[in-house]
Structure formats: C-alpha cells, structure tokens
Amino acid sequence: MALGVFLWSMTFQFPILDDSHPGPSLFPRVLGTLFIVFGAMVVYSGWKSRGLKEATNPDGEQIPLNYFNPILVIILIAVFIALANKLGFIITGVAILFILMMKLRVSLLKRSIVSIALVCFVYLIFSKLLRVPLPMGLLGW
C-alpha cells in the first residue's frame, strides 16, 4: 500500500515533464497514466480488503524477525560506496563483512578469518583473474 502511494506521488511529476517534445514525453506519459490506473486499483483493492486482513492475520507461529538487519545491509552498502575509494576495496570489504557477521552472531575468531579470507578471494578473482581495477586505497602503492 505504501508503495502504491509512493508510485502515485511519482506519477504526478510525469505529465508535466518536457512537454515541448512530443517524442520523448509520450512513453513516460503513457506510463504515468498506467501508474495512476493500476495504483488506484491497488489502493481500491487494499481499501476493500482492509477489514478482512485484520481478521485473518495469524500471529501464532511466526518466527521472530529481525527488522534491523536488512537496514544494516543497506547501511553497509552505503558505507562501502562512501569509503571504498579512500580506504580501498580490501579494508572496506573486510570491515563491512566483519560488522555484518557480528550482527549475525558469528564467533570473533571465525568472523575474523572468514571476512579476511573471503575478501581476499573475491579480490583475487576480480582483480587478478578478471582484471577489474578495484580501488586500492590505503593499501595502494
């Protein structure tokens, strides 16, 4: 539902965009219309089944879900983007793996070994085998 509303708000930007060219604006306009139509249908069906869902929601045997971890994954990707060029691929990679595995309760020794080994493995494959210029950062010489 939240996504439906989000898409809706996006569609309002569509039709007013680059109206001087009939060519480039045609396709986005058609899409904008489709977004509005389908968005409305989702909102309508969501509104219709609102009462229904509350009644049939089985809370019983759900596994406790950790909602922080997915956010952490995104934060770590953002950290990687921010630091990879400065610190280099290896240091940043080891750091984010170390933090993620800490959250996933891997023991200290295991996560130290695994994060270093894994990053070196990935580095060797991409940098040496596939010749991707991965940023070296602090380890560069």
Binding site: L3, P28, P64, V73, I77, N85
Partner: protein
Amino acid sequence: MDFLIQGLGLLLVPKTLLVICICSLYGLFVGSIPGLSATLAASLLIPFTFFMDPVPALVSIVTMSAMAIFAGDIPAALVRIPGTPSSAAYTQDSFALTQQGKAEMVLGVDVVFSAIGGLMGAVVLMSSAPLLAEVAMKFSSFEYFWLASLGLSATVMVSRGSQVKGALAMCLGLFLSTIGVDITLGYPRFTFGSVELLNGISFIPAMIGVFGISEVMRNVMQGEMHFAVTRVQAGKIFQGTWKLFVRYKWNVLRSGILGTFIGILPGAGADIAAWLAYAVSKRGSKEPEKYGNGSIEAIIDSGTANNSCLAGDWVPALVFGIPGDSITAIVIGVLFMKGLRPGPMIFEQQPQIIYAVYLSFIVANLLMIPFGYLAVKTSSQMLRVPKNILIPGILMFAITGAFAINNSVFDIGVLGMMGIVGYFMEANGYPVAPIVLGLVLGPILEQNFMTSMIKSDWNLTLFFMRPISAILGTITVIVWLFPFLATFLEKTKNNSQGH
C-alpha cells in the same frame, strides 16, 4: 551440419568445459540451498560472463540454470523447503515420500526426469528456433512492438498473486528503462542533472540488486535456520527409476511438451510450468487422491516440466530477443553486452554460437546424471552450510560484481536502491520478475513504437494492417481484456446461479 560441428568445436574447448563444470557445481550448490533461487545465481554470474567470450558466457548460464532447477528438488525432498520456486509445486509430495522412507526413489526420479525433461526441451529448441527465426526475418518494427507488448502482458498475466500488482511492477521496470537519454531526440529524461544517469540505469547492477540484495536482506532478517536432514544412501537412488520411466513414459512426454510450450510463451517460467504440469497430471491420473500425500507421478510430471521449460525459455529470447522468463532476461542482457543482438539475424550471422548453445543444453542435461548423483551424496553437508557466513559472502560478490561492470561506485548505489525496491515489493506481495522484463523490454517497446510511428507518419492503423502484426496485436489485446472478461464471466455465472 557444418555449423553443428563448428558449434561442437566452440563447446569442446578446455576453457569452456571448465566453465561448464564450475557452473554445474555452482548451480547445484545455490539451487539446493533454500532461499537462494536460480535467478539469484544467474544475476551473480553476470559480472563473470561480462569477461568471458560469448559461447562460454551463454553456456555458463545454461548449465547453471539447468543444475539449479534440478537441485531445488533436493531440499524439497529432504527438509520440505523448495530450493528454488520451481520445485514448490511438488514439495509436499516429495517430502511425504521421504517420510515414507522413499527418499532415494524421489531423488533418483528428480535427477533422471529433470535430465529427460531438459533433453526434450533441447530437442524442441533445436527444431523450432530456426523455423521461427525464418518467420521472424519478415518482422518489422510493428511486429516487434507487439511482441514486446505481448511479452510484458504475459508476464503480468502469469504473475503470482495480484495481476494489478504485477502490472505496477512492470510499469516500474518500464519507467526505470526510460531514465537516461531518450532514443528519438536525445533528450535526457529523469536524470535530475546526474551525469551517471544519462546512460540510463545499468541493467546488471539493477538485476543483482532486485534479486541478490533483496534476498540477502530477507535472509538476514530470519536468523539461522536449522534443519533435521534425512540421511540418504546415494548408491540406491537409481534403483527402480527405469521401471518408473516405462510406466509413466506418456506422462513424461506430455509434461516435457507442456513445459517447453510454457517456456516458449514469453514471460512464463519454470515455476509456472511445474504448477501447470502438476494440475494436468492430477486431472489425468488414475490415483488423484495420492496428490499432496506423496505421489511419484506428480513429481515425475512437474519435475520433467520445469526442466524442459528452461530450453523453451530460450526460444523467444534467441529468436525475437523477448525473454521467456527472468533468467533469459539476464541472457538477453548478456547477449547485448557481448555485442550480439538477439533476434533472427543471429541465426544467419553467427549460427555456430546458436548451435553451441543447443549442444550445451544436451551436455548440461547429460552431465546432470553424474553431477546430480554427487549433489545427492553431499546433500546433507550442503544443507548444513551456515547461512550467517554464506549471506555476507553473497553480499560481497554482489557489491564487487556491480562495481566491476563499469568500474563505478555509482552502480553500487543502483544495486542498493534496487535491493530496497525489490525487498519492499516482495514484502508487500508484488512480483519482481516483471520489473526486470520491463527494464529489458522497455527500450525495445519504445524504440519500435517510435520507429513505426515516424515511418508511418503517426498512422496508428498500420499496427493492424500488416498480417502478422494484426495477429500479434489481436492476441495482445485479448490478453489485456482477459482479466475483465474473466471477472465478467464469473459475475454472470454467479448471477445465474443465484437465480
């Protein structure tokens, strides 16, 4: 015949054979781990294919997906969780038989009939693709526009859950494809002044994000899963398989054809083939009461269908450049990356590549017997791989792979964004496959529409004037109207019942 030998020559190079073996093991591993799908495996494979020659690149996806779809059957039988969505249809039956002490029989059937299904699909691919390519030679922008529309519509039609949500997901994919410089006038659209966005959203990071990062996010949310794995005596798995084959040979033939046909339909993948084959099998069975409680017939039918579907999926991808499912959407991305434009011309210009792909299907499915045996033998170890180490590893590969395509951290941003989008969409019951198809087909759709319009001086009727175009157009319109027709028919039926 010459091309067949040339294709064989391309395939039997040590490097390509090595790729086949590695990708087989990779596919078996990812497929047999619940929660990791064949599409994820394919999306993580693309950065590697980027650096390969066309033949090993395509062959790697063929072998990997064939193995992964089979390997999805292993956890279905042993721990009642399908390894990939394609095994979901008969998970209940597989596990019920395992509980009856017949795990070996189930796994043997899984290996052998997956391979047979795959081979049947390969035969259909080899015989139908060149014929269709000849028809496709006559296609112009009008026909391609309709084909792309048909592909997108079919994706929405078969999307699980709500079709409206499928349609919204498709629109999102189409919208993402409009980002960047416009094809008719070179006008930058939705770039918000960003230089990186001028070239559009890179397809590969977007794919890895939607399938890879969202799965990583989902997996870290669940914590560690512990399975009680049934021990299997791998030596016994092929006992009695031949008897079953003789007994159910017509089922195999039917499901193989059905699966391939579903594959050829643009937009419908192996999971749908398995469900449909299951339904057809139950209807034609002498023992329908067994379905859901351990029917080997159900497993034979759906297991054959999902693997035969894989080869079918390649038909529209190679012939028209219209993906048959999300894995072939990736294939089309790879073909473009390799400078090969999928479509009928490829059959004329580089037939040896096409033949190498055909042959790789046969090789992959023959290899499935020994490799499948190996996978069953090591299954209890594979299912014990700790996810809290595996998932961070996937994250690392995803990030590095996204970076490697353009050597740009911007693509890692695309990866993260698409991961968030994929995650929230799945969490709210939106299918994600239509996004990918929208992203791949969007430019094809728009370009062919615009070319047609400019060619015909904005005369819309021309879309229905050419014979093939008219047929395709009519089918597409029927597909669009189908949901409304279905609702209407149901209402009239209910009304007449009420009276």
